[in-house]
């Protein structure tokens, strides 16, 4: 058992994943599989609301690099909002913020993608 969960919803042509709990290897795999599914269905704009994820590990985050790679192939974009400071720092150290973007709010994220 793990306490990780994802809810998915659509805002226009944007897919929003809302994660809760610890983003470890299992969590990362679940995020990636939903993202890959969306991409295969033609979606190009993905957002992750991380409000309820306070902890990650590098395995979980490294799986996001796969998603970024897949999106690069189809000219898509990945963004995040409600990111805890330590997770933002982790994203920066790993450099994934060079290829995906942290927004300050859902509103800002949706505006930027529309």
């Amino acid at each position: 058992m793990s306490d990780f969960n994802i809810k998915v919803r659509e805002e226009g042509d944007i897919i929003i994943l809302e994660t809760s709990g610890y983003l470890n290897n299992f969590g990362g795999d679940r995020v990636a599989s939903i993202c890959k599914q969306s991409i295969s269905e033609g979606k190009r704009k993905l957002l992750i609301n991380m409000e309820n994820t306070k902890m990650v590990n590098s395995i979980g985050v490294s799986i996001l690099i796969e998603v970024i790679e897949d999106l690069q192939g189809v000219n898509g974009t990945l963004g995040y909002y409600n990111v805890a400071p330590i997770i933002e720092k982790t994203f920066n150290i790993m450099g994934i913020t060079n290829y995906s973007k942290i927004y300050t709010s859902e509103k800002a994220a949706i505006e930027a993608l529309t």
Binding site: N57, S58, S62, E66, I86, K89, T90, I93
Partner: protein, 135 residues
Amino acid sequence: MSNPTVELTLPVMQDMELAATKTAEVIAKRMDLDGEKTDEISMALIEACINAFEHSKSKDNIFIQYIIDPEKLIIKVGDKGIGFDAEVVAIPKIVEKLNSDNKRGWGLQLMKELMDTVEFQSSEDGTTVTMTKNR
């Protein structure tokens, strides 16, 4: 008198690293460290623990020590596994990870960036990472 020390022994079990971070949080609060430092300690500790669980290839418990020094918090994470040479581990780069098969390899880098000092002692009898965070 020697420094107050908390010791934690964890079995190899999914998500047990969170027990290490929760313990670190209580100690950090007791030491009056701010939230930012506390979070950095927790993230580094997660990485040290999952390495000890996974790469050590050992089924033995891992061993964590939190030493409450007047100047800093010293954390040691030990395993009884196969050991490795931290000097030869390549520094990961996101450009190289994109379009590569191996997206991983971020743990040591994160520990070094998040803590004030990080040192590895490793032999074929196991590995101990010693990390410090200054007050």
